[in-house]
Subunit: 348 residues, 4 copies
């Protein structure tokens, strides 16, 4: 089996594991956050403006379809459904890691199909920081070109790599490679975690490196430690995976730590409703990524996915209405109640 084949078959395996198992661990912290009801919204629910401007693009809502898949023919339909929704709703979408398709261009169909289905949507390419180190900015450029992306997500997943037998255990040079790419690329670079969160300290390094946006990718939603544990056969690795399944910074805590620097922030990880999105925006998020809750309907059909997004939008609109937020800027300034462990972790 060639490396690209291996990477791509793992991709398919991941999708199946995510849909059939309980792979959410830890807590994202949104249950500890409450929005402040405004009994006098002084606006019209139907006129609520959920649109956001993100990296120079106008999007109809902060809902962001988080990076999930691509790189295997079986994932084409899912990616197409996700892309159709991104186009239909004019929301942002990130594709899954393009590594397999970069290694083996024959596997790029499931990626190019995304742009075909979403000719005008805000699309983000996806590459691991470690691949960036290995292959240099050329691969980054190729990833962007492959889907004519508006931005590139560089994902950081040291936990997943660390507990995988075939994982890459060397993260040297990642920051430098991100720094160089950010300063030279023509497209904005977004750095994202994939389930363990970004700390204040890491965010400061990334802002200094010149990245355009950071995605929390925090604890509390899809857990790659849990996914890898289900895939693993070696008993030691299973134990290792279990021990680290709730490792990380809860999304809400990560968000509190990295927001407030006048820099675009995406909150991802365990966001499960329009109300969670509203809470995240109130805590400082510009976009809110969702992966797992969209994966299941996307694997059914386009209609199911659109209904799911409609419901999320409805909840977000109602949450905005009930906090008296006519638009996202107003929501982002609204007061929240922070309680419990999240309060303690945030240092209040």
């Amino acid at each position: 089996m060639k490396k690209s084949e291996f990477t791509s078959s793992r991709k398919r395996e991941h999708l199946e594991i995510c849909c059939e198992n309980d792979i959410e661990t830890g807590f994202a912290g949104f249950d500890d956050i409450r929005l402040v009801h405004n009994a006098l919204p002084e606006c019209k629910l139907e006129s609520i403006d959920m649109s956001v401007r993100f990296l120079g693009h106008n999007l109809s809502s902060p809902v962001f379809i988080a990076a999930m898949t691509g790189g295997h023919p079986d994932t084409l339909q899912v990616n197409k459904n996700l892309a159709l929704a991104a186009e239909h709703f004019n929301i942002g979408m990130g594709v899954g890691s393009q590594r397999a398709a970069l290694e083996n261009p024959q596997l790029s169909d499931s990626f190019t199909a995304v742009r075909e289905a979403a000719p005008k949507a805000f699309l983000c390419g996806n590459l691991g920081a470690i691949q960036l180190v290995e292959k240099g900015p050329e691969w980054a450029d190729k990833a962007v070109e492959m889907i004519d992306a508006q931005a590139l997500c560089i994902h950081l997943n040291p936990l997943q790599e660390a507990i995988q037998p075939e994982g890459d255990h060397d993260s040297n040079g990642c920051l430098k490679a991100i720094d160089e790419l950010s300063r030279t690329s023509k497209y904005p670079v977004i750095v994202k975690e994939t389930g363990c969160g970004i700390s204040r300290e890491t965010a400061q390094k990334l802002w200094s490196a010149g990245v355009s946006a950071i995605d929390t990718g925090g604890l509390g939603g899809t857990s790659w430690a849990a996914v890898e544990t289900l895939r693993a056969e070696d008993k030691n690795l299973i134990n290792l995976g279990r021990n680290f399944s709730d490792w990380g910074i809860p999304t809400a805590v990560s968000l509190i730590e990295i927001a407030g620097f006048e820099k675009p922030v995406i909150a991802t990880g365990g966001i499960r409703s329009g109300t969670d999105i509203a809470k995240a925006v109130a805590l400082g998020a510009n976009l809110c990524g969702m992966a797992l809750p969209l994966l299941k309907p996307a694997m059914e059909n386009s209609d199911s996915l659109n209904k799911a997004i409609d419901n999320i939008h409805r909840e977000l609109a109602v949450s905005m209405y009930l906090t008296g937020s006519k638009n996202i800027t107003s929501l982002s300034k609204s007061r929240t109640y922070i309680t419990g462990i999240t309060r303690q972790m945030a240092g209040f």
Copy 2:
């Protein structure tokens, strides 16, 4: 079906749902509040003076029969029983929304019966803020005249409206309409929520608008999201209702936020005993509204209702006695212990 018929049949449906289902959600916060025992009350239990002065009226206790019903012939007996109790105990009472009867005067019997049964009681009319915007101060005046009310409650219920298919989703102009009414009406205007609470910010706007009193109508008692969810048939609306069933500011938190401005405040929402009333008074409430706990006995008969109120009064008197509060003013100055989530939400 004409609009007024529709409104009125919905009223009846509400009463039934409330009596037969568990429609209380969230937490009101009173479990997090403890009164400070006074081992030396230095007074006589039977001489405890529970009377309050509210908007220029002398009431025998802070118990307030919160707005519930009217507008459908089937609700006449309930309203009559409630009114008889208000008269018997000399306590305040609010009628349910008078919208149906204003739309269709033939439906006003269940309201006029209230004043007949309670010729001297402190009665409050009831109108939605949205109706006030639509129909202007004339309807407000008519509502007051219909029951010869001492005051008018303008209710705010954006959540209930937002999750109802037939709901009014436009709350523009509510504050302005309230402002105008407050400044021109001959009767005092009370603004109340109906289960989601009033925040400090909203209260400040309302005080500036010149309202005479605010009713918290906080989270933790009857949940309209829960009621509407039970009425709903559309699956999406049921989900929406569920997601918002614990939306809002707990009554105790809302009370802490809006009290202390030398303005009359009513605490309503999840108040379930005379001790809860004592806690609310200690936190700054002038009156304490109860709906659901009085609805069930009121639907049985006048006797059941009077016994229920007797018990509440007894508990309040004992609570006052045990905090050494000879009267409500003294109780309102007594110290409390605030713990748990309520302590965190209140920012202590």
Copy 3:
């Protein structure tokens, strides 16, 4: 039935209810308190000096047999067993309310038997504050004379009285009567609650009134509301009792509020082990009263009771040893960890 007969038969009923039912409610707070382990005690367990000086008397330990019974022939044996233990261990003991025996001197045998069995023990008489108001200092003197007491406990029990149909609901004049008695009596006056605790404010009044010591009698042990609820037949009273069964200030909180004024303090209410006693002493208690845990063995026989007290002493000694406290003064200065609701109620 004469009043004294009634009082006395109620006494017997109480003992039975306490022994056969779960009548402990609320939380005393000692679970939220942890002593600081001292790995270098630098003393000998067997030389630990648990003796205390209290109101001029030398007692062998802070264990105080809290007021329980007397006034009915059936209680004579229990009282005798308690007295034998007080004498045997040289610890303090309070008798139950002497009201019945003061009303009807024929009922005084169960009290005089206490002094006979404990000729040298530190004994406290017991009278309700309300009886003191009604009958004046003469009764107080008579109560002391009846058992040749070293001190008199005046008990405050407004909750118990308030929820009893036959209860005395007037507590006017209690403070004044206590003040007069404290200033004129030849014996020290101790004021105690019986399950609801003494607040800082009440303590200040009592210190100003010149009382010699205060007993917290806090929440978390025997609940008189629970006892009266079990005795009650009237449904309304049962409900009232239940609603107030966890009313009051937890013993640990009361202790924190009233200690630290250089005045003798007894901690009573929910103290269930020698470790609880050590915690109470560390929080500022001079003596620690126990009622219920001693009642059961005392109703068996003298031996059971002595074993129970031996065990409590052993636990106390080990707790002192493990905090490196050679004597009670040293224990009273030791650091504690205060967590949970008790921490919040104490305002830390």
Copy 4:
């Protein structure tokens, strides 16, 4: 039965009780501690340097095999397995109390076997502080000589002694004896608790006495009160043991109290994974002792034990990698989240 025989048979009994029963009580506090994920580790997992310098010795990791056994022929194999692991991994190891072998030199085989199996390892002798007082520094020297130890652990176990019928209840002179030994011995003296923790106050006395290192030996792991309770037959002693089974300072709290004084600290008690070790290091520990989790595999065979330690090392390495700590010094400076009761006990 001679004293040494008695001591030695008790040793064997302990091992069996520990392996077959649930003898862990209380909470160590590590669940309340969370490490801060670093999404940009900038290092290589396989290059993580877990080595530490401790009392002048270079050890390959902070894992320390805590004092467990020796002194009975049946324990020889276990001790040999532990020693082989210490040698294999170049980690520190403490032997169990050498008292029995000092009393009866025929019992020293199970100790000398340790040095034979681990000719180069960092080994610590072990003697109770009370034996040190009784027998003087000669015994300490003999204990060290017996295994040619690099350091001597003086253990403090006042709780275990206090609840044992045959226990030594006199801890007078311990501090003085430790002081003298520390100032005169040629080897470093480490003072350790055995399950109840060292407080800030005790640590200060020990640092002043000149000890080289302190081992928390905190609450939350093996509980000697629990072990002794299982061994006890006397009902009173069983009760006493139960009442004290969660006595003590949680390891994490003890660690926070005693770390930060530029003095070597060992964290022991309830450390159950490599992640717990990483947390302890981040809180200030130099070494982390584990007893129970190593006892079970050590009783199986050398291979099981090595696998267990491999797994712990792997978890520690991954934890270091994921906090971006290339070495232990870096880990020791990393930020932590402290929540819950541990946060309250630590006074934050």
